[in-house]
């Protein structure tokens, strides 16, 4: 710390789920129980921790939000009645891709970009 721009909170975790109905984005906060656990994954994204996240995604039921956003988001399936009109059910998850990034800053162009720190793809057994 205090030597590189790489900090825990500057490590976004991108989760993409590939289903029979297409791909969608999962908010990691939906699957990682609490803030401390979330910070733990950011600090030390071990394959074991990422596998636990993937397992948790495979075990739950999701729907794709086909709403206004240009990107499709996966929502946790609640009660049938609670589903929004824009939500679309899917049968099964084929793959879960989890990528943890760190920041990379270029002072010449003043641009901040993401650099892959850890990347794993988990396939449904």
């Amino acid at each position: 710390m205090f030597a590189t721009i790489d900090r825990m909170e500057y490590r976004p975790i991108h989760i993409n789920v590939n289903t029979n109905e297409g791909s969608c984005i999962v908010n990691p906060q939906d699957v990682i129980g609490n803030q401390m656990e979330f910070r733990g994954v950011q600090a030390l994204p071990t394959p074991h921790k990422l596998e636990r996240i993937a397992k948790s995604i495979f075990e739950r039921e999701w729907v794709i939000d086909t709403g206004n956003s240009s990107e499709l988001h996966c929502l946790l399936k609640q009660n049938e009645g609670d589903l929004e009109a824009s939500a679309q059910s899917f049968k099964e998850i084929d793959e879960v891709e989890i990528t943890v990034y760190r920041f990379n800053f270029d002072t010449r162009s003043d641009s901040l970009s993401l650099r892959i720190l850890r990347e794993h793809t988990f396939i449904q057994n």
Binding site: M1, F2, T4, I5, P12, E71, D110, L112
Partner: protein, 300 residues
């Protein structure tokens, strides 16, 4: 000249009072206050601190007990384990210090042991900090400070004062940062708004930091017979006074004041009052000095 002499006489007068048992009691009291104020990072730690610390602050017989400190140290260690991956670096150092205190109180010369351990902890901490910075190209080429001035709210006023980074630029940069930080966005790059002076300031700050931290490491780790070791309080106090009013990490500043005071047992006794004064004044470090200066400059 008379004023300076008067201050030195006063420092020496009070320093002579802080010897022997009084010195040890004050080290323990400062450590307890430090723990209570800056170690409540989880419910478990809060529980331990709120039950254990007030009793020891109120009763000197408790705070001087090696058994008390051993139990307190073990409990703090247990409470700290779940935070291993996420805790700030000064939390680690505080836990090390609490354990060191517990061990020192079992020794025959407690004052000497506390001083030796405090000196080594400061020396090793700054040695590793310097090494880490020297091994980080991002630090040495100024990128770390450049990025920090643009994105860390503790440095915004300094960046405005020293390099003229405007408030509009600051808001724009925060938005870019938040977009990239988000785990649900899929944008993978963003532009920042800076100032032409910022790069030079960032590079200067990087080299200054390596210089001052390296000086502290060498001065505190050098054996007592070396000249460098005799003046070790100077770089530490320069570091504290120049760093913490800008980067307001009060927990670390307080810990360094405690360790600085504790290591002053063996030499430079007149410095110990200065460490106590720094310890007491640390809440003042939170004052927005740069903002005050900016407001004054804006008047003209």
């Amino acid at each position: 000249m008379k004023v300076v002499k008067g201050i030195i006489t006063q420092l020496e007068f009070y320093s002579e009072k802080l010897v022997g048992d009084r010195f040890i009691v004050l080290v323990l009291l400062m450590t307890l206050i430090l723990s209570l104020l800056f170690m409540d990072h989880s419910r478990l730690l809060m529980g331990i601190l709120y039950i254990f610390v007030p009793v020891a602050i109120l009763f000197t017989t408790v705070s001087k007990s090696p058994i008390y400190w051993t139990v307190f140290g073990v409990l703090m260690l247990i409470g700290f384990i779940p935070l291993l991956a996420t805790a700030d670096n000064h939390i680690y150092l505080t836990v090390y210090w609490i354990i060191a205190v517990a061990l020192c109180l079992w020794t025959r010369d407690q004052g000497y042991s506390l001083a030796l351990n405090a000196r080594l902890l400061i020396g090793l901490c700054f040695a590793f900090a310097t090494l880490w910075k020297l091994l980080s190209p991002e630090f040495l080429n100024g990128t770390f400070f450049y990025f920090t001035f643009l994105t860390d709210d503790r440095f915004f006023d300094f960046a405005e004062l020293a390099a003229g980074v405007s408030q509009e630029a600051r808001l724009y940069n925060i938005e870019s940062l938040e977009t990239l930080k988000s785990s649900v966005n899929r944008i993978d790059s963003g532009l920042f708004v800076s100032s032409v002076y910022l790069n030079n300031i960032a590079v200067f700050m990087a080299y200054w930091t390596v210089f001052i931290e390296g000086w502290i490491a060498l001065a505190f780790l050098a054996p007592e017979r070396f000249k460098l070791s005799k003046s070790r309080d100077i770089p530490l106090l320069i570091f504290m006074i120049t760093t913490y009013p800008i980067a307001t990490v009060r927990g670390f500043a307080t810990l360094l004041a405690v360790l600085g005071f504790a290591q002053s047992q063996n030499q430079n006794r007149h410095m110990r009052v200065i460490y106590v004064l720094v310890f007491i004044s640390i809440p003042l470090f939170s004052l927005p000095f740069e903002r005050i200066l900016l407001n004054i400059l804006n008047l003209f």
